[in-house]
C-alpha cells in the first residue's frame, strides 16, 4: 500500500505534470527548430506566433459556442483549430512577404534576422493585445478531468490522490500524432525531402531544381500549424494570456538548444529534459520518502534538493552544461 501511495504521489506531482508540460514545450521547440534548420535563424517571434494562433482559435471557438456547436466531452477549441492555424499561417506568410524575404534576398547574416524577428515579436505582441486585450481568457470547455484526485482516492482507497486532466491526455496524444505526422512528411514526401535538402545545403538544393520560395512557404505553414497547436493545448491546460506566451519563449528555446537546434527529435527530447528538470529537481521528496522508508527513518526535513525559486536556474544550468560539452546539443543539431 505504501509503495503504491508513494508511486501515486510521485505520478501526481512529478510525472504527469512534467510529461504534459514537456509535450507543450516540445511542440513549441519543434517550430523553433524547423525555422532554425530550414530558414537559418532563431525565430524570437515564435512565442507570439503561438499567442496569435491561439487567439484566432479562441475567437473561432467563441463563434462555435455561440452557434451551439460543441464537441461534447472534448474541448470545442479542437474543432476551431483549423481556423486558428489558417489565421497564424496568413500572419506569418504576410510577415515573410513583407519582412523576411527582403533580408533573405540580401543573404543577411542570421544575427540580423534574429534582431528582425525580435521586431516582429513586438509587432505580434501588440497585434494580439489589440484584438483580444491583455487579459486572461478562459476558453476550455468539455470535461476537465479524466479522473480527479478525490474520485481516485475514493475508488482505490489510497491516501494519495491522482489527478489526470483531459487536457494533459490530449496534449500528449496530440504531440505524438503531430510529431509522427511531421516525421512522415519530412522523410516520405517530395516536399519534405526538398525541405531537408534545402536545410542541408541551400546551393546544392537550388542546383537540383528545388524552388526555394516553395520550401519557405511550406515551412512557414508547418511552423504556424505547430505554433497554433502548441499554443492552444497550452491554453486549454492552463489559460490564455498573451504575456505568458511571450514568457514561454525562454523554456522553449532552452528545449530546442538542449536537444540540438535544427533536429526535430532533439526538440522533443529537449522539451522533456527541461520539464523534468524544472519539476523534478525542485520537488520535495518528503512525502514519497515517508511512504517508502520505515517509520524510524522517516525524514524530518523536506528532502528538497533546492528551492522552487531556482527552477529557472536549473534549466539554464543544464543549457550551459550541454553547450559546454556538446555544443550541437544532445541530438547533434547545428552549433549555435
Amino acid at each position: 500500500m505504501d509503495v503504491l501511495n508513494a508511486l501515486v504521489a510521485l505520478a501526481n506531482f512529478v510525472l504527469i505534470p512534467a510529461v504534459a508540460y514537456g509535450s507543450q514545450l516540445a511542440l513549441g521547440a519543434l517550430g523553433v527548430t524547423l525555422v532554425y534548420g530550414i530558414l537559418r535563424f532563431s525565430n524570437f517571434a515564435h512565442g507570439d506566433t503561438m499567442a496569435w494562433g491561439t487567439m484566432c482559435t479562441i475567437l473561432a471557438t467563441w463563434g462555435l459556442q455561440a452557434a451551439g456547436i460543441t464537441l461534447g466531452p472534448l474541448p470545442t477549441a479542437l474543432l476551431a483549430l483549423p481556423a486558428g492555424i489558417l489565421g497564424a499561417a496568413l500572419l506569418v506568410l504576410a510577415t515573410d512577404r513583407m519582412v523576411y524575404r527582403f533580408y533573405r534576398a540580401q543573404k543577411a547574416k542570421p544575427v540580423i534576422l534574429v534582431i528582425v524577428s525580435m521586431g516582429v515579436m513586438f509587432i505580434y505582441n501588440g497585434l494580439t493585445r489589440f484584438v483580444i486585450g491583455p487579459d486572461d481568457q478562459n476558453f476550455a470547455d468539455g470535461e476537465r478531468f479524466v479522473i480527479n484526485a478525490r474520485d481516485f482516492r475514493e475508488m482505490t482507497g489510497l491516501a494519495e490522490g491522482l489527478a489526470l486532466r483531459s487536457t494533459q491526455v490530449l496534449t500528449v496524444v496530440t504531440a505524438v500524432l503531430v510529431v509522427a505526422l511531421l516525421f512522415w512528411f519530412l522523410t516520405h514526401t517530395r516536399t519534405g525531402k526538398s525541405m531537408r535538402a534545402y536545410a542541408d545545403n541551400e546551393d546544392l538544393a537550388l542546383l537540383s531544381g528545388i524552388n526555394p520560395e516553395r520550401v519557405v512557404l511550406v515551412t512557414w505553414i508547418i511552423v504556424a500549424a505547430l505554433a497554433t497547436v502548441a499554443g492552444v493545448l497550452y491554453g486549454l491546460d492552463k489559460s490564455f494570456k498573451p504575456f505568458t506566451y511571450f514568457q514561454l519563449l525562454l523554456p522553449v528555446f532552452a528545449a530546442a538548444i538542449v536537444g540540438g537546434l535544427g533536429s526535430p527529435l532533439g526538440a522533443i527530447a529537449g522539451g522533456f529534459v527541461i520539464a523534468f528538470s524544472e519539476v523534478g529537481l525542485t520537488y520535495a521528496w518528503k512525502k514519497v520518502a515517508t511512504y517508502l522508508l520505515p517509520e524510524s527513518l522517516a525524514p524530518e526535513g523536506l528532502l528538497q534538493l533546492m528551492g522552487t525559486d531556482y527552477k529557472f536556474a536549473v534549466s539554464f544550468v543544464i543549457l550551459v552544461i550541454v553547450l559546454l560539452f556538446r555544443p550541437t546539443g544532445l541530438f547533434r543539431g547545428k552549433s549555435v
Binding site: A9, N12, F13, V14, P17, A18, Y21, Q24, D135, D136, N138, N148, A149, R150, F152, R153, G161, L162, A163, R165, Y234, K238, S239, K241, F243, T244, Q247, L248, P251, A275, E278, V279, T282, Y283, A284, W285, K286, K287, V288, L302, Q304, G307, T308, D309, K311, F312
Partner: protein, 394 residues
Amino acid sequence: MKKWLMASALPLFAAGTAMADDAKIGVIMGYTGPIESLTPAMSDAAELAMIEVNDSGKFLEGVTLVSVRADSTCVDSAAATAAAERLVTTDGIVAIMGADCSGVTGAVLSNVAVPNGVPMVSPSATSPALSEVEDNGLFFRTAPSDARQGEVLAGILQERGISSVAVTYTNNDYGKGFADAFEAAFTGTGGQITLTSPHEDNKADYSAEVGALASAGGDALVVLGYADSGGKGMIQAALDSGAFDTFALGDGMYSETLLADLGGDLEGSFGSVPWAEGEGADAFAKAAEAAGIVAESTYTRESYDAAALIALAMMKGGEPSSAAVAANLLDVANAPGEPILPGELGKALEILASGGDVDYVGATNVELIGAGEAAGSYRYYEIKDATFETVSFK
C-alpha cells in the same frame, strides 16, 4: 487623503490673510502601468474632496484648492521621482496626495518629499517597509500596512482552528513583505508553516511549486498573490492536482474574475481584504454618485480621505503650507473632536475656523496609528456558492 485634508486647511489660512491664492496639491498616481485601470477613479475621488472644500466657501479665505496630476507609472521609480520633482519645483505644490504603489511611493518620499519638506499622503501604498522609513514626519497613509493584514489573516486561521499551513507569495515587494508579516504573526501564535514558496507571475507552469508545497503539506494553502496572474495559476495547479482544497487568500486575490473562473472549486476558501463599511462608506457612496464618479472601485475611499485630511490639516494650521499639513494632519484625523463623515467637510471647516477640534472619520473610519498610517479595517470573507460572503469585520 491626508494631503487633501491639508489642502482644505490651506484655503482657511488664505482667509486669515485675506489674500486670494491657489493652493496646489499634487495627485501622483500611476495613470500608465499595472494599475492604470484603478487610478482614474482614485484621482476623481481625491478631487471630489477638494471640490467639496472649495464649494463650501468656508476654507481659508480666498484660497482655492487646485489639483495637479502627475504620472507615477506604479513601477518606474525614476519616472515617478521626476514627475514629483516637477510638481514641487515648477508647480509649487504644498502637499502630495499619493503616490500609489509601494515602490514608487518610497522613491518619491526619500528623493522629493523629504528633501523639499513636502508632506505625502498615500491612499494605497501598503508595504510594511514604509512604516520604518526615515520620513521626518512627512509621510502618512490612509491605507493600512500589510503588516496589519498579516496579523488579521493569521487571526482568521486561528479562529478557524487551522494550525498548519503552506504559504506561497508573489515574488515582489508586496508579496514578500506580506508573507514575512504573516509568517511572524502566525508562528507567533503557535501556528506552523510547512513551507514558504514564492512564485513568479505570468510563468508557464506552476507544477514545481505546487509539488513542493503539497509534499510539505498543511491544512490550507495561504496565497498572497494576484488574482489575475500567478496567484490564480497556483490555485489552479493546486486544485487540479488535488494538493489543497482550502485556500486562505490575501487582498490581491479578491476578484470577481477569480470566482467566475474557479468559483465552484473554491467553496469554503476564505480571505481578508481591506474594506470599509458603515455610515462613512455610505456617505461617500452617496457623494460620489451625486458627483457622477465611480465609488465602488479599489482605494477610492482611501483617496477621498487622503485629500480631505490634507485640506483639514491646512485649515487647522491656518495656512496653506506644507508645514501646516505635516503638523496638523494627525490632529484632525484622530480623536478628540467632532466626528466628520464624507460630505461634511464644510461643517469640519466651520468647527476648525472657530478653534474647535474635529475627528475625521471619513469613508474608511480613519484612525491613524504609529507614524501616521491607517489602522485599517478588514473584511473577513468566505466563499460560498461562488460568492464572497462576509463573515465579520476586523
